[in-house]
Amino acid sequence: MTFNPSDLWAVAPEMVVLAVALAVILIELLATRREGVLQGVAAVGLLAVMAVAVWSLGRPTGAFNGMVARDGLTVFVKLLLAGVALLAVLMSRDYLMGLDKSAPTGVREEVKGNPPLPPPAIAGGEAGVRHGEYYALLLLATCGMMVLASATNLVTLFLGIETMSLALYVLAGIRPERPRSGEAALKYFLLGAFSTGFLLYGMALIYGTTGGQTNLSMISKAVADLGDGAPVMLFAGVGLLMVGLLFKVAAVPFHFWSPDVYQGAPTPVTAFMSVGPKAAALMAFIRLFGWALPDLADVWGPALWMVAAATMTIGNIVAIAQRDIKRMLAYSSIAHAGYLLIGVLAAGSPGVRSAATASMLFYLVAYFLMNIGAFTIAILVSRARPDGDYQIDDYQGLGASHPYLSAAMALFMISLAGIPPTAGFFGKLYLFSAGVNAGLVTLVVIAVLNSVISVYYYLRIVVYMLMRPQPSPVEVRISPAMTAVVLVCVVGVIKFGVLPGSMMDWARSGAENMAQPTPQVVVDVNDPSQIRQSDR
């Protein structure tokens, strides 16, 4: 095993993200606490990450002895993740500033019997959020997602998931003065750690049954060698691993945490969480199930099929009943995870693998734009309310007083519903046609019916905004950064809805340019000749 300096290119985006995260913390500590500076550093840093990611693109290969992949797919996903983080950073400032100015200091629940303890003594901004910390955590979560998306080894997969999750647990609870925020963090943390247990146990069983392999392509080989003689423990391992990952994607029946966490977490974090971890975990899914374990497709395939069908159906049906827009978007994002699982299933059939991966990439881009856009407008509207709540009723008559904002929101809703000419439509078309190609016709029919159901609750927002009278005048203030976020999303949704060709080509070349690195040398402690070989 040798260290090859060029391997560093494979993790260059991660390194830059880390450096920016540290820089943000240090700047806050040593230089200035000015919000704009911190945000600016984070934003510029993420732009640099994107540049480095593009720069690092090369021939598909592995790095660090097959621990991570360096290929078009990872670069595509890293760009996407950096983009998600960038928009989340841009929309955070207003949110954090709003906290400092108008924070209701601790809507505390009085507990009978005991006198309440003094409010949490946390240094930092008036509302208790250290802004540098916030941006740093956002960046660290991004770093974890990038590792997760490029992992080709169970160890890196696990590290990526945990780096991402730990940062997200804290982000969900970063507003300790709001009980809901803390509650969201606790729920997310307990269930997340619980699912990590399953994930790890699955990994242990796979490791044991494949003869000590942790590298994905070696696992694939070992599974192929086992053939029909694969032990039940291996199936159990695959099942447990699937449970762990499905939790991160918030698929039914492992979705219970997500509406609560989405509702309780600060909204920019929610927006970030609704796209980033999904994208990263789905890439891990693709690498693990689509590329490493296609031989076991008749084991995980039916299970995933049912999970996908249940996820989209329950997500859409429950979304109809929601009165809080964040919860509605949470269930909608569960439904979209269900659609995306079609791509994972399709990737299990060898002929469609690249096409299915490409369609997922395109869908993720579309989903990223429309969902972040919708969350941004949700923040703006909620801030017009004195109590900062997120009721769907607040959207009544918004079209009369804020036509552009409403038009943008309507566009995002139409795109989420998958009506042309928007990015969401082409995303669905691409994804579903990959599904049909892979023979998943029944599932695609279920998905199409679900899209029709989803039209109902997405368009309800539109009806509220444009066709109902306004109960009381509201004034939504929009800062330049928020305007920029909304504009990027609007332009993207329209661009990829009218001229999706270029993005489809990028997604396809990303999916086709995919590495399956293997370790150069397998170290076996009991084989002295190998140890000597590796010492070269």
Partner: protein, 506 residues
């Protein structure tokens, strides 16, 4: 950029600009919209002398006119492919004309003027796009682009029950487009590009039966596909029993939107049947032509009787549309030269006549703020000029000789009679009912005692005359000399009829 691209996208560009105009200046928005639709109309009219009446189109790429073709989404082999032939060009002219006249007819809109006009222009893009698209996917996208502005125009600027009407319209149309999407994907996966062998959305490739493969060579699948498309288009026409959205939508929609809805959107249904179902599935069409004829007859009679029962003038006009679209169905189901030519000519004529009717309803509604037929009376003394124009429209609607409606209806009957004798004879009864309810309406509204409440209603004004007189002139002119429009379509449509007739039924 070719003229069809300009025609299609100038309104969309105009919509974007309208959205950016200052909010407090509705006059500017209105005049700018007139300018945009005027440019579109000018371009459409300027294509008229260039249009070659001698070549066919339909399924021959070489004989389409003003063709533009370029890759749009290479991943799915989707092209930006537009062109017109004798079937689509009259519809493009009609669209450009009605959109232009509808802007002045929208003068009364005071709420959200900008949004209204932006959506209206976007709607025009969708409509022209549907008529010029020759790639099925492009057709589908334009079809959907049409859906949303219409939904908003009814839902935001409509009458008291506008949200209900808009959602009903939306759900019906969405179900239709979902069916179209499914049929389209089945076509896509089973039709091969003869040159490259790849799957294709190109309608002209789909029309060549040699390219069909897979499940599309199974007869029962072809029948299913035919009926999938039929339901989608029947919802738009609308054919009984899918028509219930129409009266609601019309009653709630503002005048100009009703004009577009009845004048153009309804034509999309029959246009889709002729453009897609007929040439792509000629055998199924040939087998089920009788079905189309029966539905046409039902529409004629049912629409006419419903119209007769209405108290609301606008609902009456809406049902008369259903009845008149029945003539189109009957004519096109005959597959004869006269029948198909008559059907498309009737599409054009109905577009102008029904536009007049809805504009006239709008005129009286703006003054009296209600549309109860029995609430008026003796308006002939109050508004003689209004009576004059109304008579032209009503007489054209009942097919009086000398007006355009007569020629197209007569052609439909002449074409259909040798093929469907009984059905045609029953349908002719529909004309009698039509004449009855229209004359009765005129009598109730304009003659008899003058309702003192409306004794001093102002006469029809210059702006309204501006929207109505061109249509009246066209109706009279085509009634005397139909060749300018009929000549455009004859070559293509005779070929289309021959195409379907020559294929053996399933």
């Amino acid at each position: 950029m070719g003229s069809l691209t300009l025609l299609t996208f100038i309104p969309a560009a105009g919509a974007a600009i309208v959205a950016l105009l200052p909010r407090d200046n509705p006059k500017l928005v209105r005049w700018f919209s007139i300018l945009v639709t005027g440019i579109v109309l000018a371009i459409a009219v300027s294509l008229y002398p260039q249009f070659d009446r001698g070549i066919v189109g339909i399924d021959q790429e070489a004989t389409f006119q003003f063709v533009e073709k370029g890759a749009w989404i290479p991943a799915f082999n989707i092209n930006y492919f537009v062109g017109v032939d004798g079937l689509s060009f009259p519809m493009v002219l009609l669209t450009a004309l009605l959109c232009f006249l509808c802007i002045p007819a929208s003068w009364g809109i005071t709420k959200g003027v900008k949004g209204y006009h932006a959506l209206f222009l976007l709607l025009e893009t969708g409509m022209i796009g549907v008529f010029v698209a020759l790639d099925f996917f492009l057709f589908y996208v334009f079809w959907e682009i049409m859906l949303l502005p219409m939904y908003f125009l009814i839902g935001i600027w409509g009458g008291p029950r506008r949200v209900y009407a808009a959602i009903k319209f939306f759900i019906y149309t969405l179900i239709g487009s979902l069916l179209m999407l499914i049929v389209m994907l089945v076509f896509y996966f089973n039709v091969r590009d003869p040159v490259t062998g790849a799957n294709t959305f190109n309608m002209l490739h789909m029309m060549s039966q040699a390219n069909h493969g897979g499940i599309m060579s199974l007869n029962h699948v072809r029948v299913l596909l035919f009926f999938g498309l039929y339901i989608c288009f029947a919802i738009k026409v609308p054919v009984f029993p899918f028509h219930t959205w129409l009266p609601d939508a019309h009653v709630e929609a503002p005048t100009a939107v009703s004009v577009i809805l009845a004048g153009i959107l309804l034509k999309m249904g029959t246009y889709g049947l002729l453009r897609i179902s007929y040439p792509i599935l000629p055998d199924a069409t040939h087998s089920f032509a009788w079905f189309l004829a029966v539905m046409g007859m039902i529409n004629i009679i049912y629409g006419a009787f419903c119209a007769m029962a209405q108290k609301d003038l606008k609902k009456l006009v809406a049902y008369s549309s259903i009845s008149h679209m029945g003539f189109v169905m009957l004519g096109m189901s005959a597959l004869t030269d006269a029948g198909i030519n008559g059907a498309v000519f009737q599409m054009f004529n109905h577009g102008t006549i029904t536009a007049m009717l809805f504009l006239l309803v709008g005129v009286i509604y703006d003054r009296a703020h209600h549309r109860e037929i029995d609430g008026f009376g003796g308006l002939a003394n109050v508004m003689p000029r209004y009576l004059g124009i109304t008579s032209v429209a009503f007489f054209a609607g009942m097919g009086l000789p000398g007006l355009s409606g007569f020629i197209s209806e007569a052609m439909c009957f002449i074409g259909a009679f040798p093929v469907w004798r009984t059905l045609t004879i029953i349908s002719i009864g529909g004309i009698v009912i039509t004449a009855a309810y229209l004359l009765w309406t005129i009598q109730r509204m304009f003659f008899g005692e003058t309702n003192p409440k409306y004794a001093d209603l102002p006469e029809i004004n210059g702006r309204e005359l501006f929207t109505l007189l061109p249509l009246a002139a066209i109706v009279i002119f085509l009634g005397i000399w139909p060749h300018p429009i009929l000549g455009l379509m004859n070559t293509s449509l005779s070929y289309l009829g021959e195409l379907v007739r020559s294929v053996a039924p399933l």
